[in-house]
C-alpha cells in the first residue's frame, strides 16, 4: 500500500474515483475535478477521462490487431497469430450460429467486438491496482503540479458503470430498432401488451393490457440494466477485493492476491463471454417474429 498518510477508507475511496473532466456547476467552467465530491457534483455533464481513454485504447488494440491479421490472412497454413485470432473468430461464429437463428450481418462482428473488447477491458483488472495509478500520480505531481491526492486514475473501464451501461444500452436500442423493423410497430406493441395474459373476450383483453404492459415493460427494461450491471458488478467486486488486498502489509499481499488473480482470470473470461452471449440472445429475440 502506497497510500502514505491516507487511511484505509480514504485509500479505497481514492481508488474508486475516476479522473473526471466536467462542468463545475458552481461557476460553469469545464475542468478536471479535484476531489471525489467535486466529481459527484458535476453530474451528467462530465466525462471519465480514464475510462474513456483506456476503453478506446483497448478498442484500438483490438481493431488494429484483428484488422492486421485480417489483411494478412492467408488461406494456406496459418501462422501462430492468425491461428489464435481464427480460434476466437470461430468460437464467436459457432456461438452466434447456435443462438442467433436469423440472418443479420451485423450480429457476429458485434459479438466479436463486444467479446474481445470487454475481455481486454476486464484484463486490466489483473494489472496490480497501484501500478499504473502510481505512475499517473508521479506524472501528475511532477509535471502538472497536482496534489497527489487529487490524481484519480482507474484503469479498468468495465468497473465504470458508464462503460458497461453504454454498451448494454446500445444493444438495447439496437434491439428496439430491430424489433420494430422486424415485427412492425403493431407487432412490437402487441408483444408488449397482449402477453403473457390473454383472453378471447375483447373486454377482458382490454383490461389486461395495462397489466401486460407493466410486466412486459419491466422485463424489457430489466434486460439492458441487468446486462450492463452484471458485468460492472462482477468486475467492480473483483477490483474492490484487489484494493482490499492491497491494504495488507506488503509481505502478506501475495498470499491473497495470487489466488484471487488466478480465480479472477476465470471471471474475466466468463463475464466477457456472458456479455457477448446475452447480447446475441437479445438480438435474436428482437428478430423472432410469429411466435406470438
Amino acid at each position: 500500500m502506497a497510500a502514505g498518510a491516507q487511511t484505509g477508507s480514504e485509500y479505497i475511496k481514492h481508488h474508486l474515483t475516476n479522473w473526471t473532466f466536467g462542468k463545475d456547476p458552481s461557476d460553469g467552467v469545464w475542468k478536471i475535478a479535484e476531489t471525489a465530491q467535486q466529481a459527484q457534483e458535476m453530474g451528467f455533464y462530465a466525462i471519465h477521462l480514464d475510462s474513456m481513454g483506456w476503453s478506446v485504447a483497448l478498442g484500438f488494440i483490438f481493431i488494429l490487431l484483428f484488422s492486421f491479421v485480417g489483411k494478412k490472412a492467408t488461406t494456406g497454413v496459418p501462422g501462430g497469430l492468425q491461428n489464435s485470432i481464427e480460434i476466437i473468430i470461430e468460437f464467436i461464429d459457432t456461438n452466434v450460429k447456435d443462438t442467433f437463428s436469423h440472418t443479420n450481418k451485423l450480429i457476429a462482428p458485434m459479438a466479436l467486438t463486444a467479446f474481445v473488447w470487454v475481455l481486454l477491458m476486464n484484463l486490466m483488472d489483473l494489472v496490480p491496482v497501484d501500478f499504473i495509478p502510481q505512475i499517473a500520480t508521479f506524472i501528475g505531481v511532477n509535471f502538472y503540479d497536482m496534489d497527489p491526492h487529487h490524481v484519480y486514475f482507474k484503469i479498468v473501464p468495465t468497473t465504470d458503470p458508464n462503460v458497461t451501461m453504454g454498451m448494454s444500452l446500445s444493444v438495447f436500442f439496437l434491439a428496439l430498432f430491430y424489433s420494430v423493423k422486424n415485427k412492425g410497430v403493431g407487432g412490437f406493441v402487441g408483444e408488449l401488451t397482449l402477453h403473457p395474459f390473454t383472453s378471447k373476450n375483447f373486454l377482458i383483453k382490454l383490461i389486461l393490457i395495462p397489466i401486460n404492459l407493466f410486466l412486459e415493460g419491466v422485463s424489457l427494461l430489466a434486460k439492458p440494466i441487468s446486462h450492463g450491471l452484471r458485468l460492472f458488478g462482477n468486475l467492480y467486486a473483483g477490483e474492490m477485493i484487489f484494493i482490499l488486498i492491497a491494504l495488507l502489509p506488503l509481505y502478506a499481499q501475495w498470499t491473497l492476491s495470487v489466488p484471487w488473480a488466478i480465480f479472477h482470470i476465470l471471471v474475466i473470461v466468463l463475464q466477457a463471454f456472458i456479455f457477448m452471449v446475452l447480447m446475441v440472445v437479445y438480438m435474436n429475440m428482437a428478430h423472432d417474429t410469429g411466435d406470438h
Binding site: G22, A46, G70, I85, T113
Partner: protein, 156 residues
C-alpha cells in the same frame, strides 16, 4: 459511480468499433476460413478420387500382367514347337545330305577301284610280258611263246 457523458462516449466508440469490425475484420478472416475449408474438402475429395483411380489402375495392371503372362506362355510354346520343327527339318536335311555325300563317295571309290584295277591289269601284264621275255630270251622260240602269252592275256 456517477452516470455521465462517459455513457454516451462509450456507446459511440462501441458503434464505431463494431462498424470497423464489420467492415475490415470479420469479412477477410471469415472468407479466409471458408476458403481454407473449401481447399481442404477439395483436397480430400481429390485424394479419394486418386485412391479410386489407383485401385482401378491396380486391377487393370493385374489383368494386363496376367494377359502378358499367358501371351508369353503362348510365345514360349510356339517357339518350342518351332524349335522342334526346325530341328526335325535340319535332321532330315542332314540325313539327305549325308546319304548324297555317301553315294558320291561310293561312286568315287568305285571309279578309283576301276582305275586301279585297270592300271594294275596293265602293270601286271607288262610285268608278265617282261618276265616272260626275260625267260624266253634265253631259250624259247619267240613265236610259240607269243601265242601262249596271247592266250594268257585273253584269259586275264
Amino acid at each position: 459511480m456517477n452516470i455521465n457523458l462517459t455513457l454516451i462516449g462509450q456507446a459511440i466508440s462501441f458503434a464505431i468499433f463494431v462498424w470497423f469490425c464489420m467492415k475490415y475484420v470479420w469479412p477477410p478472416i471469415t472468407s479466409a476460413l471458408d476458403q481454407r475449408k473449401k481447399t481442404i474438402s477439395d483436397g480430400l475429395s481429390a485424394a479419394e478420387l486418386g485412391q479410386q483411380a489407383l485401385e482401378k489402375a491396380k486391377i487393370e495392371v493385374d489383368s494386363k500382367i496376367s494377359e502378358a503372362k499367358s501371351e508369353a506362355k503362348n510365345i514360349v510354346s510356339m517357339a518350342e514347337k518351332r524349335q522342334g520343327d526346325i530341328l526335325d527339318e535340319a535332321n532330315v536335311k542332314a540325313a539327305e545330305e549325308t546319304s548324297k555325300k555317301l553315294k558320291l563317295a561310293e561312286q568315287e571309290v568305285e571309279q578309283l577301284a576301276m582305275r586301279l584295277k585297270e592300271s594294275l591289269k596293265k602293270d601286271v601284264s607288262k610285268l608278265v610280258v617282261e618276265g616272260a621275255e626275260m625267260i624266253l630270251k634265253k631259250e624259247i622260240d619267240k613265236q610259240v611263246h607269243d601265242k601262249a602269252i596271247k592266250d594268257l592275256v585273253t584269259k586275264i
